[in-house]
């Protein structure tokens, strides 16, 4: 492999992929072809086999709520004045019902990251997962965060953006996270009913009051057009009205024994009647179809093309990618009527994407995953340990602090304490690298290729034990960048 192609292979594995594994660069073949191959099919992963569907979780959640209600009423009658129990019985119940599933969900995600042979496709999955961020901070959405990625993102990551968008916005994770399930049209039949029959207050199902704009706003601002692209507060409100009725089966329906084949449910009685005007276009009242039509138009709007192209170029090329690159990518996207592979192809064929200056700072998740892949660190059966590492580094899985997701800009991750913790994690990771046949110098060459600088090499050579050399490799500046 000559110098230039070694650089290209390294970028394919480290900047476009999840981090090189030993021997991977040599076996890559043509890096561009290798990447293109991964941008064609849905991103499937055998590790996900057998995980419950959202609709399964939803049924069991109703069961949980019923049992929790009973726990509470028991507690209220028997131990009104007793101090809080050491082991919160509600938490215990939740973990009994869902703990093992959550462990499997997180474990599968770690296993995929560490083991995948299609790391570009997986990086795309993670990119879109962060683009359509939900957070387990919202307790009611927590069960559905991992399924959102599995059910809505993976099947569409190499398809039409409109399909991806629709699958995400109708997913229980997003409906719950951005309060869409609570939104009803002020003039809907449901609103009129509730005005006459105010139901009893209930923690699990507080009374519905009216319109909630949260999802509509974030779709415009974060998921499609982007902030500052010219939409108005009226557009937000009108879109929120169009979205009314997009909901989920309620716990009481499930407790009554009704069955559902999807966790998404359109409730016509909650839909705000009437024609909606969004971005100057009129949408006839076709119930559920009204918001679908809006989403379909948003997906191929020029502002959306620009927004997606910028975020993707920022993710793969540079914090501030050249406007020309973004413009070309947006054009390819629009020309293809919103096909994501066209967007990816424009990126992969851009000279900027392969310039020696192209580089990105590894986010904490990238850093830990890259270390696991480089060192062949076994994931083991307990994802909680790795999640603990991410918590300390500031990027726990499915837990960003806002619907904007985690930052993709180096300056947000480069801070003294953050670097210090990386050194600690590098050391801890190095202790999990299998030692049989371990040659840290060769490993450094294999994963960093021509990006392994002389000074890092020298530091590796002076290490007092292979484990320490691996810690130096993981903690070195050269390993913090996707080059």
């Amino acid at each position: 492999m000559n110098g230039a192609s070694a650089l290209t292979a390294g970028s394919a594995l480290n900047r476009f992929g999840l981090g090189a594994r030993a021997g991977e660069a040599a076996a890559l073949g043509d890096p561009l072809a290798w990447l293109q191959q991964q941008a064609r099919a849905p991103a499937d992963a055998p590790q996900l086999a057998g995980l419950p569907r959202s609709v399964d979780y939803m049924a069991r959640e109703a069961d949980f709520l019923e049992r929790r209600r009973k726990l509470k009423s028991d507690a209220a009658t028997t131990a009104k004045d007793a101090p809080a129990a050491a082991n919160d019985p509600q938490r215990t119940l939740y973990l009994d019902l869902f703990g093992e599933d959550l462990r499997r969900e997180y474990l599968a995600r770690w296993q995929i990251a560490a083991e995948t042979n299609t790391p570009f496709a997986e990086r795309l999955v993670r990119f879109w997962s962060n683009h359509f961020a939900v957070s387990t901070d919202k307790i009611t959405a927590a069960l559905y965060a991992a399924p959102l990625e599995r059910e809505a993102i993976r099947p569409h990551v190499n398809g039409r953006f409109a399909d991806l968008l629709l699958a995400v916005e109708a997913h229980p994770a997003m409906l719950r996270y951005l309060d869409q399930v609570r939104s009803i049209g002020p003039d809907s039949r449901a609103a009129r009913y509730f005005a006459l029959h105010q139901p009893e207050a209930d923690e699990d199902m507080p009374p519905l009051r009216g319109l909630n704009e949260n999802l509509a706003r974030e779709i415009l601002e974060l998921h499609t057009l982007g902030a500052g692209s010219g939409y108005t507060q009226d557009d937000v409100t009108e879109f929120a009205r169009a979205l009314t009725g997009w909901s989920m089966p309620g716990p009481r329906q499930l407790q009554r024994g009704e069955t559902f084949d999807s966790a998404y449910l359109y409730r016509p009685q909650a839909h705000q009647p009437g024609v909606r005007t969004i971005l100057g276009k009129h949408y006839a009242d076709e119930g559920e179809q009204q918001a679908r039509a809006v989403l379909a138009d948003l997906a191929v709007h020029p502002a959306t093309a620009q927004h997606l192209a910028l975020k993707l170029a920022r993710h793969f090329v540079a914090d501030e990618p050249s406007p020309e690159l973004v413009r070309r990518m947006a054009r390819a996207y629009l020309d293809s009527q919103g096909q994501l592979p066209a967007l990816y192809q424009a990126l992969l064929h851009a000279p900027e994407a392969w310039a020696p200056t192209a580089r990105k700072f590894r986010t904490p998740q990238d850093f830990v995953v890259a270390g696991m892949r480089a060192g062949g660190v076994p994931v083991g059966p307990r994802p909680r340990a790795w999640e603990g590492v991410l918590v300390r580094l500031g990027q726990p899985t499915f837990q960003p602090r806002s619907p904007a997701g985690y930052s993709d800009i180096a300056s947000d991750w480069i801070a003294p304490d953050a670097l210090w913790k990386r050194v600690q994690v590098a050391e801890a990771l190095s202790e999990h690298v299998p030692r049989q046949g371990l040659d840290p110098q060769a490993l450094a060459h294999a994963v960093l290729g021509p990006r392994l600088d002389a000074q890092t090499q020298q530091a590796l050579a002076r290490a007092e034990a292979p484990q320490q050399a691996v810690a130096i490799l993981f903690a070195a500046p050269a390993f913090q960048w996707r080059t």
Partner: protein, 417 residues
């Protein structure tokens, strides 16, 4: 201030004796089987001339210059005999020595004398006469020779010494909170060259000591510059605080305490392995070893307290992959050498004396004019312990545990009769 520090700081024999009397030495022979063996590997090359200073050797003080230690003066080493002493920080070890439960062996080395860390550690662990001489480790093969016995490796991944067919469990504490100061030392110049990361990293190093009063109370040397890469004698205060923090977080005592706990019960682990890093002292050796030897001494003490009455039937063998150059180098440190010190500790050890044959430090006595000439093969000591303490036969030792070592006699008399 905790008790261990109290002992370490003041070196009060009375207080030490009170601790020791909790577990009076009971000979292994008296208790029959169920003996315990722990091997502690100090990776990086412990300087035997610093831990076990040969103050009586006429060439020692001249070769060592400012690194030389003496059994008198302000920083007095613990005098063991006319030739040897123990580093001032090894206070608990010195007390064990006084009770006959600690035995240094001078000028020991594995059969590989090539001065590469990785190859020398490989040789120490694989138990043959060369690096990569076996794919399994001698301690695993010793476990295999003892039906019904399981090994314990205090490590996240199986180290070579415990690799093999016998059943060995690994155990490691949750994420370590400390950072190896040597690692920081290696990283600082790398980060200094990255314009995007240099400032943040420098500040990270500076921040780490904020509010480290506890460590300061522990009486560490604020002049320690093990982590300071700045030239000159005056290290920045921030570096000192960082040193303080790292010092307060030594991991070895915690690991040894855990190992002791797992070996304490009647059915506990009989054969265990613990490893430590950070012994490669090319610069600022005096300050670094004040910290590291204190950790080692605290580790012995923590293990002693954790294993309880089983201490009486225990041998702890502390080894390193090589010793260091006889002479001090130009940066206040020493470079890779050959003959090193090893330590035996435990109630089953026939200690209170220094073992091995001292080859001397005169010009004609040094190996290649620079290192202590190794006069004891580590494997001879291992054989002596495995035979006397665990009852392995000479045939098993020569063929299975240390293959090809039939002509290497075991070191006898290490254990109490």
């Amino acid at each position: 201030m905790n008790r261990r520090r109290f002992l370490g700081t003041l070196g009060t024999l009375g207080a030490g004796a009170a601790t020791l009397s909790l577990w009076p030495g009971i000979s292994a022979a008296a208790t029959g089987a169920d003996t315990r063996l722990l091997v502690l590997l100090l990776r990086g090359g412990l300087d035997g001339l610093h831990a076990l200073p040969p103050h009586g050797d006429p060439a020692y003080a001249r070769l060592r210059g400012p690194l030389a230690l003496a059994p008198d003066g302000a920083q007095a080493a613990w005098k063991l005999d006319g030739t040897f002493a123990l580093h001032p920080q090894l206070a608990f070890a010195a007390q064990l020595y006084g009770r006959g439960e600690f035995m240094p062996v001078a000028a020991a080395a594995p059969p590989y004398w090539g001065r590469s860390h990785f190859d020398a550690q490989d040789c120490v662990e694989n138990g043959t006469d060369a690096p990569h001489g076996a794919q399994s480790g001698w301690l695993n093969r010793a476990v295999a020779a003892m039906p019904g016995v399981e090994g314990l490796a205090v490590a996240a991944v199986m180290p070579l010494i415990m690799r093999g067919t016998a059943s060995v469990e690994t155990w490691s504490p949750p994420l370590p909170q400390h950072v190896d100061p040597v690692l920081l030392q290696r990283l600082e110049p790398l980060y200094g060259d990255d314009p995007h990361l240099a400032a943040a990293f420098a500040q990270a190093l500076g921040n780490q000591g904020a509010g480290m009063d506890e460590a300061a109370d522990a009486g560490m040397q604020m002049g320690e510059t093990g982590m300071s890469m700045k030239p000159g004698a005056q290290a920045a205060a921030s570096d000192d605080r960082m040193a303080a923090k790292a010092l307060a977080r030594g991991r070895l005592p915690a690991l040894m305490k855990s190992a002791g706990g797992m070996m304490a019960a009647a059915g506990g682990a009989r054969i265990a392995f613990v490893e430590d890093y950070g012994w490669d002292t090319h610069a600022n050796q005096a300050a670094i070893l004040v910290r590291k030897l204190k950790e080692l001494d605290d580790a012995y003490s923590a293990f002693h307290d954790a294993i309880g009455p089983a201490w009486g039937k225990t041998v702890v063998v502390t080894v390193t992959e090589f010793g260091r150059t006889a002479a001090i180098n130009g940066t206040g440190g020493t470079d890779h050498g050959t003959g090193a010190a090893l330590f035996l500790a435990g109630g089953a050890v026939h200690g209170g004396r220094v073992g091995g044959q001292w080859p001397g430090m005169a010009p004609g006595e040094l190996y290649q004019q620079r290192d202590i000439h190794a006069t004891t093969d580590l494997r001879a000591v291992f054989k002596g312990v495995l035979a006397g303490h665990l009852g392995l036969s000479d045939a098993v030792l020569a063929e299975k545990v240390f293959p090809g070592s039939a002509r290497l006699a075991r070191y006898d008399g290490l254990l109490r009769a």
